[in-house]
């Protein structure tokens, strides 16, 4: 057998977490890394390879008999085992726990390797210490040494570099480098930049929650030589990190405040028609600060038209009773006074954005509500734009022409352009239109971040139920949808 084949497996790990319908084939000359948001099943897949979890459906073939897993979970189990052995409250003797040496020898097959590892990790003097007296980093090292000298034919390491100091990380990396020549390694990592060069495949996990149960699964398996997909994956990992932060607003040229008692948008009895063709009639709608809205409806029901009434791009906004971002329309306001409060992204904008311009300037143009740059940006604005590029993991490419980007990356840049000024309202007209699955997830991850992590009200138009975003609760339905 020279591959591990997981087919349509559903595996239960607790009452509230299951892996659902996962399939993959890992060839024994490959090395995989599993990435994904927290709680989406990374560790579960690692554990599954080590034989944990309760198989509910599907088949697993070719799993080697000796698999070693090092994870927080296995570390916790070892610590707990040691706690259970502590009977000091009964014996009244001070118990220092099992000696490190003893633990290391428990399943050691290759004592020569163990000797080497002890030297490398400078554990010689700690061998007779009690396990319980070790620091977290040290227990981690014990687990790693234990795993490596048990001669596994598959090594599964869940966040192995977490809690290791720089020197130890380096040592571990060189040991893995050697190990991988003989056997496959599966790593679970949180950060893209930690992925060693020799990893051949990237797995990206995602989850859905249904009631109290979360189902983890595999969204993508990408080979390293697929450059385009790799870049997107890097961005996705970046965006789904828990500690993502948004760059600040431009303090010297901030968007003016709105009166907090006013709604952001109020439409009264609004009707739109082209000639005899009525798009919609008698629409009443109010958007209050702090709400996020999704607008749904079939093709031709006027979703885009409705958004354009808000942005001022639809000329009939002058012929209707519309209050937008502090202005009753048609009373001598200029559209630039309204646009300054709005960030806007649509595929139409993407078509329009054909000027020859680099990524940095596209983002900067968001400060001026212009397509192309006609004014000089301040240093602060440039700094903020750089931070956005960093957030999207595109800072190294700042000077690349916008037109050369993939469709999905263009969309991300346009969302950043819309957000740089911290607008009161972000309007997204079918932001996933024309995107492949990976890029869709990227865009959705960014929108999700914006809904949860900023003061901006989001108006979101889309067709697909599966592109719903958790933070958007209000729904306006147009047409007979």
């Amino acid at each position: 057998m020279n591959s591990i084949a997981i087919q349509n497996c559903s595996v239960s790990f607790s009452d509230s977490f299951l892996l659902r319908d996962i399939s993959f084939t890992l060839e024994l000359d490959q090395h995989w890394v599993i990435l994904g948001p927290n709680g989406s099943g990374k560790s579960a897949i690692a554990a599954l390879l080590a034989g944990f979890g309760e198989l509910k459906a599907g088949s697993i073939q070719g799993l080697p008999s000796r698999v070693s897993l090092v994870s927080f979970e296995s570390q916790r189990q070892l610590i707990e085992r040691e706690l259970d052995r502590d009977e000091s409250d009964i014996t009244d003797e001070i118990f220092e726990g099992t000696q490190v040496q003893e633990i290391l020898l428990e399943d050691c097959v290759d004592s020569q390797r163990l000797e080497r590892l002890i030297d490398l990790f400078e554990f010689r003097t700690k061998l007779d210490r009690g396990f319980r007296n070790l620091s977290t980093g040290e227990t981690r090292k014990v687990l790693l040494m234990k795993a490596l000298c048990s001669n596994p034919s598959l090594l599964v390491l869940d966040e192995p570099f977490d809690g290791l100091d720089v020197a130890s990380t380096k040592i571990l990396k060189s040991i893995l480098e050697e190990f991988k020549r003989k056997h496959p390694i599966v790593l679970v990592l949180n950060r893209f930049d930690e992925v060693p060069d020799w990893v051949t495949h990237f797995v990206y996990t995602k989850s859905v929650s249904e009631g109290i149960v979360t189902y983890g699964g595999i969204a993508h398996v990408i080979a390293r030589d697929n450059k385009l997909a790799m870049e997107s994956l890097n961005q996705l990992v970046q965006l789904t990190k828990t500690d993502v932060f948004f760059p600040e607003a431009d303090s010297s040229d901030a968007v003016p405040e709105l009166n907090p008692v006013d709604p952001l948008v109020r439409m009264k009895d609004v009707s739109i028609a082209y000639g005899d063709k009525v798009i919609f009639e008698h629409l009443n709608w109010q958007v209050d600060p702090g709400q996020h809205w999704q607008v749904v409806g079939p093709n031709g029901s006027g979703k885009t038209c409705l958004l354009n009434l808000i942005t001022g791009d639809h000329p009939q906004c002058y012929a209707n009773d519309i209050f937008v971002l502090g202005f009753q329309r048609g009373q001598g306001e200029s559209i630039w006074e309204i646009k300054q409060h709005i960030g806007y992204v649509s595929s139409a904008l993407q078509w329009d954005y054909r000027v020859s311009i680099n990524l940095m300037n596209v983002i900067l143009s968001g400060f001026f509500d212009s397509i192309g740059m006609y004014q000089k940006a301040t240093d602060q604005q440039t700094k903020i734009a750089t931070q956005w590029l960093k957030l999207l993991a595109m800072d190294a490419r700042w000077d690349q022409p916008f037109s050369q980007l993939s469709y999905g990356d263009q969309r991300l840049i346009l969302i950043a352009r819309a957000m740089v000024k911290h607008p009161h309202m972000l309007i997204l007209d079918e932001p996933c239109l024309g995107l492949d699955d990976l890029n869709r997830q990227l865009v959705l991850a960014l929108i999700d971040r914006i809904c949860r992590g900023s003061e901006t009200t989001v108006l979101y138009v889309n067709h697909h139920q599966e592109d719903a975003i958790d933070g958007i609760e209000q729904i306006l339905t147009l047409g007979r949808g």
Binding site: E333, S334, I371
Partner: protein, 490 residues
């Protein structure tokens, strides 16, 4: 009515012709305030009317439309344009008397009739605006004394005026106040506010005069802008066919070639366009263009002279009174030309290939731009005007050819420009026939195909110096530099 320009003394003629100044952004600090709360009524809702009106309204001004009765009754396209965009539309009688500013954006040919009809309805002390001074300058229209007469002329087709505004930019614009009609001295303030309303201030505004605008506009559009491109298209196409080249390739090379080579003008003038060629090709293009300049100079002079004397407009007005017989005939002829009817090949032509295989086209553009510019400046028009009416607008017109060949160009430009273009074309075709007999596909269609790109150093230095030191290059650099702060950062 008689030609206004011809009624002036030479001193006045020269003074007005020589008026053209780039206005500093700080002169527009007052924004649209001079028109805020006033009633703007646009006459006509075509290319300029609709698009200027949309911009003005989006800038916070009160805009409505008045159309001739028939257009309203028959719900013509102009009526649809206005109502679909949520504007109020009314008859002259309903709206003109309420207007503080009337924007006359009907075709130039109709101006005498339209202005004759609306002026009596206009409020006392109101203002009448044009986007082209033909009616005032060439037809000598006299407007009631209490009315202020101004001009705000975007240097682009209407669709472009709108698209650029939506992008947060606009198109360069000329403004002027008619000296004879500025009774309260408010003309300039109104013209500036109007220019801000269309967005023009973001791209650069030139303070001009009615006369400078008309004479330079006519000269530019007849010669380099439309005339040269039309003549060049026909000659180059026929030459390639004569030499046995594929018609589909020839058609495509010309249709998109003008746009591609003139795009280079936008960034760095004639110098940059010529620099896109290999050294031997550049020297070749230079020689051809020098030859063309000698052959065509008398024609450019004649056009300028006829424009100055009023002979051109008199001739055209005669055709107007003759049911446009010449114009319609020439239009039909253009529609039937071999170039116009050839199907383009599917074959890809790379950007550089348009230069390499279009050496003669590059030479024609250089010759036309420099000749038109030199002729205008020699006639007393300021360098700034001459630059805008020649080099600056060439890529814009070339874009229309890229869309739908000569038909689209002649459809987009005004009837006046179209008439002048045909005049030029008919004179220029025979003028260049000898020159064309010596032309082969190395300069149009196939490229020079040299393995060795070496040239004589001294000669290259001389040619480069001549290109770079031309006055159109110097003023171009300054004007493009002025726009620096506002310019697209590319």
């Amino acid at each position: 009515m008689s030609n206004y320009f011809n009624t002036l003394s030479l001193r006045d003629q020269l003074a007005q012709l020589g008026q053209c100044e780039f206005m500093h952004a700080s002169e527009f600090a007052d924004g649209v305030n001079a028109l805020k709360g006033k009633k703007l009524v646009v006459v006509g809702c075509g290319s300029q009317g609709l698009n200027q009106g949309l911009n003005l309204r989006d800038s916070g001004l009160d805009v409505s439309y008045t159309l001739r009765d028939a257009a309203i009754q028959e719900q013509r396209q102009s009526w649809k344009n206005a109502t679909d965009n949520g504007f109020t539309v009314g008859t002259y009688k309903e709206l003109i008397p309420t207007a503080d500013l009337v924007l006359n954006l009907t075709p130039d040919k109709q101006h005498s009739a339209v202005v004759g009809e609306i002026v009596p309805l206009m409020k006392k002390d109101s203002c009448l605006a044009y986007s082209h001074g033909f009616n005032i300058v060439e037809e000598g229209m006299q407007v009631r004394e209490d009315i202020t007469v101004i001009m705000v002329a975007p240097k682009c087709p209407g669709t472009e005026v709108r698209e650029e505004y939506k992008r947060g930019f606009c198109v360069p614009t000329l403004i002027a106040v008619h000296k004879d009609n500025d009774p309260r001295g408010e003309g300039l303030a109104l013209a500036k506010a109007y220019a801000v309303g269309t967005g023009g201030d973001r791209a650069g505004v030139l303070m001009s005069s009615f006369i400078a605008e008309v004479k330079s506009d006519l000269m530019g559009e007849q010669t380099i802008l439309c005339g040269m491109l039309q003549t060049g298209s026909l000659l180059c196409f026929d030459k390639m066919i004569e030499k046995g080249m594929d018609a589909g390739y020839a058609s495509k090379l010309i249709q998109y070639g003008w746009e591609t080579v003139t795009e280079a003008l936008k960034y760095g003038g004639v110098t940059n366009m010529m620099d896109r060629l290999s050294n031997p090709a550049k020297l070749k293009a230079f020689d051809l263009s020098e030859e063309l300049k000698v052959i065509m100079r008398p024609l450019y002079n004649k056009h300028m002279d006829d424009i100055m004397s009023g002979a051109f407009s008199a001739g055209m007005m005669e055709d107007w009174n003759n049911d446009d017989k010449n114009l319609l005939g020439w239009r039909k002829e253009t529609g039937e030309s071999a170039f116009e009817n050839a199907q383009n090949t599917e074959q890809e032509i790379s950007e550089q290939e348009y230069f390499d295989h279009g050496i003669l086209m590059v030479a024609m553009v250089r010759a036309g731009v420099e000749l038109a510019y030199e002729t205008m400046v020699a006639a007393g028009i300021k360098e700034e005007s001459a630059y805008y009416e020649s080099l600056h607008e060439t890529p814009l017109i070339a874009n229309t050819i890229a869309r739908k060949k000569l038909w689209d160009m002649n459809n987009t430009i005004s009837d006046t420009a179209e008439y002048g273009c045909y005049l030029y074309n008919h004179a220029c075709l025979p003028l260049l026939s000898d020159f064309m007999t010596n032309i082969d596909t190395d300069v149009i269609g196939r490229g020079m195909g040299l393995n060795d790109d070496s040239v004589d150093n001294q000669r290259l230095i001389d040619v480069n110096a001549q290109l770079r030191q031309h006055s159109v290059e110097k003023i171009g650099q300054t004007l493009r530099g002025y726009m620096g702060a506002m310019k697209k950062i590319v």
